[in-house]
């Protein structure tokens, strides 16, 4: 297995990179925090400091106090950003409306994405957040970090930004919320030079790909989702940074049909790990489940007494294809009729495992409702090997993009284009043969768009010939 990065990478050592001293990082007491009031009245937000769930308000307040107590010159942005943001949020609650304007065109040179311009319409009252741009930092695949990376980005973002972030944005990026235009390039230079990392996608680009935890800590992963995500992210850096598409395009990689990153619902190309041989069965472990020696579903139902495990009712009876049975004390699976839904494997993970001849199912065209309604991804390729350098996958991706860039209208997602032009046309362009796996059922209307070449003799006919057979 190849785990080498594509180029030598710089080590990040927080002891060297840091801006702030320990004393600066611990510059307030619990007592001070308890008594701390932000400069605006925020009674509704203070209500949200209560309750057991982690309070974003309490967190924002400690960032506000920490910034307030840093010496002058130890922050490049106004100290009061968190306080002004809370004030603005409270005012939005009172008025039931947002106070953020449409994003302006800001970014770093040579890129058309990764930075989202943001300005408030209440700049007089909340001057420290008058400009409050977002930067998306491309996360490492499956979001493992070490503290050298995180502490360094915290110092960078305290010093040149608001200290507010999202871990993570919906698409997967580590999102830095709130800086000014003049700091965009300096932040980008620190990210690339010191942290040896890059920003992610926005606008009509390839968006930052993301993947499940995969083989790093999951026994169900049929493919190496991190490797695939890393390779395609690097291979398509140009598409990620420089807008050339009709609209956004998302890749997501799920290691199995459980779909933990929801690729089938929210990515233009959904890669889902699967297998084409037989489910592996450990008959001894099956017996142990039946005997109640192992908790079903890895103990996921431990919070309620559901009674003794019943393999007939809980596994065989729930199999959507009815392809399982117990015969002579052994579990048998008719693999040719299995649709790989994962239920039996999820329920008895120590007895059943996916096969070993693994690859991906490729689905295309998912999107949220804007504009013509939500779409789920449609099955395009039932099975495809997914092994480095993934040339088969890249070739198909590029065919899809080429057609979409030729045919797609402004702001038309690939899924909408396929709907507009038809799935038959799409698979023709991709040179894929039609297969019943691509549909839930054949069409129920007979309005087939026959082509002229499908019909013997073509469509050109002479009315006089016709009239020889039929009087007017």
């Amino acid at each position: 297995m190849a785990f080498e990065p594509k180029r030598p990478v710089k080590e990040i050592n927080y002891a060297e990179s840091r801006i702030y001293t320990d004393a600066e990082l611990n510059n307030y007491t619990e007592e001070e925090l308890k008594n701390f009031k932000v400069k605006h009245e925020i009674p509704m937000l203070e209500e949200l400091e209560k309750g057991p769930w982690p309070s974003f308000v309490a967190d924002a307040k400690r960032n506000a106090l920490h910034r307030k107590k840093l010496a002058d010159g130890r922050l490049l942005l106004d100290k009061e950003g968190s306080e002004d943001l809370l004030g603005l949020l409270e005012q939005s609650f009172e008025e039931g409306e947002t106070h953020w304007k449409h994003g302006g065109i800001v970014g770093v040179m040579g890129y058309g994405g990764g930075v989202i311009g943001r300005y408030t319409d209440m700049a007089e009252k909340y001057p420290s957040i008058a400009h409050f741009h977002t930067m998306r930092v491309n996360q490492p695949a499956s979001k493992f970090y070490d503290t050298n990376f995180l502490r360094t980005i915290c110092d960078l973002w305290s010093y040149r930004g608001s200290g507010l972030m999202n871990l993570h944005g919906s698409t997967g990026d580590l999102v830095l919320l709130g800086t000014v235009t003049e700091q965009l390039e300096p932040i980008f230079f620190e990210l690339t030079h010191v942290m040896d990392t890059d920003i992610g996608g926005s606008g009509s680009n390839l968006r930052t790909p993301s993947c499940c935890i995969g083989k790093a800590r999951c026994e169900f992963a049929c493919v190496d989702t991190q490797e695939l995500s890393y390779e395609l992210t690097n291979h398509y850096q140009d598409e990620l940074h420089r807008p050339a598409f009709p609209y956004k395009f998302k890749f997501k990689f799920d290691g199995c049909p459980n779909g933990c990153v929801a690729s089938i619902a929210r990515s233009d190309l959904s890669f889902i790990g699967t297998w084409r041989d037989d489910i592996r069965i450990d008959q001894e472990a099956v017996k142990a489940y039946i005997a109640g020696e192992i908790k079903p579903n890895a103990g996921a139902h431990g919070g309620r007494d559901w009674g003794k495990f019943d393999i007939q009712k809980e596994v065989i009876g729930l199999c959507p294809t009815g392809c399982m049975a117990m015969e002579d004390g052994k579990l048998v699976i008719d693999n040719a009729n299995c649709t790989r839904c994962m239920h039996c494997i999820n329920t008895m993970p120590r007895a059943l495992k996916p096969g070993t001849d693994t690859g991906i199912s490729l689905l295309c065209g998912a999107k949220a409702p804007i504009l013509d309604g939500a779409q789920m991804a449609t099955l395009l390729v039932p099975f495809m090997k997914a092994e480095p350098p993934y040339d088969n996958i890249k070739e198909l991706i590029e065919k899809i993009w080429e057609w979409w860039m030729d045919e797609g209208k402004n702001r038309e997602r690939i899924g909408e284009l396929i709907q507009r032009v038809g799935l038959p046309k799409f698979i023709e362009v991709l040179e894929l043969p039609p297969a019943p796996q691509m549909v839930k059922a054949p069409r129920s209307n007979p309005y087939i768009f026959w082509k002229e070449e499908d019909v013997i003799g073509g469509w050109d006919r002479d009315i006089n010939d016709y009239r020889k057979r039929h009087k007017r």
């Binding site: 209500e47 057991p52 920490h66 609650f93 493992f144 871990l167 040896d196 890059d198 991190q226 120590r350």
Partner: protein, 395 residues
């Protein structure tokens, strides 16, 4: 390498291309795996949930890794991230991971440090009392609610995200720290139907929604927008060209055609929609992403609109709890919310949850016919008798 403290950093305004590095891509994942993950990559044999939020994964080699999953607000400050780092340095060799649903995962290969880690996490609370690192979010429960930016950082929201998620999570907390439901329930939140969070396949989706057509900023629209693009942006053809009394180019809106999607405002800032009374929350239910047992499916609108009652959204919480409780009482083991609703029938879903069925829930957009009933296979509920009475079919 040290972070720069110069105002312009390493960037030279006069020579912007000098030393510019581009197209580096993300850091390689491998360098951030703890040793036990590197050593057992691709070798994991099985896992067990030892208690809510605590998992053990066992490798073919016999090696084990313990994971403690903690809830988190995805809006997070550097203060919080530094505290996460303190914990990771103290107990986890300096490594930490975040999940797709914004949970934090602390990993250790040592059973003793697991106990110390758990105790440490639960001891950390904000001064106002909320947990900083609640443990849970595994198995048949409700894990972290994924969400969007809302009033914190977005220009198109119809509600706020962080506050609604905090309010709902407080009320559903017992399901985060427990595994007592028939199957997992995924709750997701998006503040407008752009749905940058793509919540449309969730067991329960909370969605901000506008209900007033755009206001036209006649004086400025021709300066702020490309009018043809604004017209083309409307999916229902409700926007057409117009002139003001003094001859300026503008647009007019056929209000009765508007479906309040906000796409026009995305394309043209002179067409704002937001409004205190108009905006609110829609609840959808019964979607899923997993292929387990049944196919992935869309969530369905079960509550057409609730008010934006900041900061705690009591109406939203009440309806979410009705859905969760009816599901918890009625569904079979392993049955997702949508599968339960389909098995008992949506008419029974409305009866059991007590949610009113209104005309807004009958689809009248494209492909609506697919959702209409074209059979005599249904169950009788009070809603059916009300129709029979209205039609004069019964007294």
């Amino acid at each position: 390498m040290k972070l720069s403290t110069e105002k312009a950093g390493r960037f030279i305004l006069e020579k912007p291309q000098e030393n510019r590095l581009t197209d580096l891509g993300p850091r390689h994942y491998w360098e951030y795996f703890p040793p036990v993950i590197k050593e057992n990559y691709g070798k994991w044999a099985y896992h067990d949930m030892l208690e809510p939020g605590v998992m053990v994964h066992v490798s073919e080699t016999g090696a084990k890794v313990f994971t403690v999953r903690c809830g988190a607000a995805r809006f997070m400050t550097v203060e919080h991230v530094r505290e996460i780092c303190d914990i990771a340095d103290k107990h986890c060799g300096g490594y930490v991971r975040f999940t797709t649903r914004n949970n934090i995962e602390f990993l250790t290969d040592n059973l003793e440090s697991l106990e110390a880690l758990k105790a440490d996490l639960l001891s950390r609370k904000h001064v106002s009392g909320s947990f900083k690192f609640p443990i849970g979010g595994t198995g048949a429960g409700i894990t972290n609610i994924v969400h969007t930016q809302g009033y914190i950082h977005c220009h198109t929201p119809a509600t706020d995200a962080s506050s609604m998620v905090k309010a709902v999570s407080d009320e559903l907390f017992e399901y985060f720290t427990g595994m007592q439901l028939p199957a997992k329930v995924r709750v997701s939140m998006a503040c407008c139907l752009n749905m940058c969070g793509a919540v449309h396949c969730s067991d329960i989706a909370l969605l901000g929604y506008h209900r007033k057509p755009p206001i036209v900023d006649h004086e400025y629209i021709s300066k702020l927008c490309e009018i043809p693009l604004a017209i083309a942006a409307c999916p229902v053809g409700a926007i057409s060209p117009d002139k003001t009394a003094d001859g300026k180019r503008t647009v007019k809106i056929k209000n009765e055609r508007c479906m309040f999607c906000g796409n026009c405002y995305t394309m043209c800032q002179a067409l704002p929609l937001s409004d205190k009374e108009g905006d609110g929350v829609t609840i959808l239910a019964g979607g899923k992403i997993s292929n387990r047992i049944s196919e992935p499916k869309f969530s369905k609108v079960v509550v057409p609109w609730l008010p934006n009652n900041f900061p705690r959204f009591p109406e939203v919480i009440s309806d979410v709890k009705k859905i969760v409780e009816a599901y918890a009482n009625g569904a079979n083991k392993y049955e997702r919310l949508g599968d339960w609703a389909e098995r008992i029938g949506w008419e029974k879903f409305f009866e059991k949850t007590g949610l009113p069925f209104t005309e807004h829930l009958i689809d009248d957009y494209r492909l609506a016919y697919d959702t209409w009933r074209t059979s005599t296979q249904f169950k009788f509920t009070d809603a059916a008798w009300a129709v029979s009475k209205a039609a004069g079919g019964i007294d």
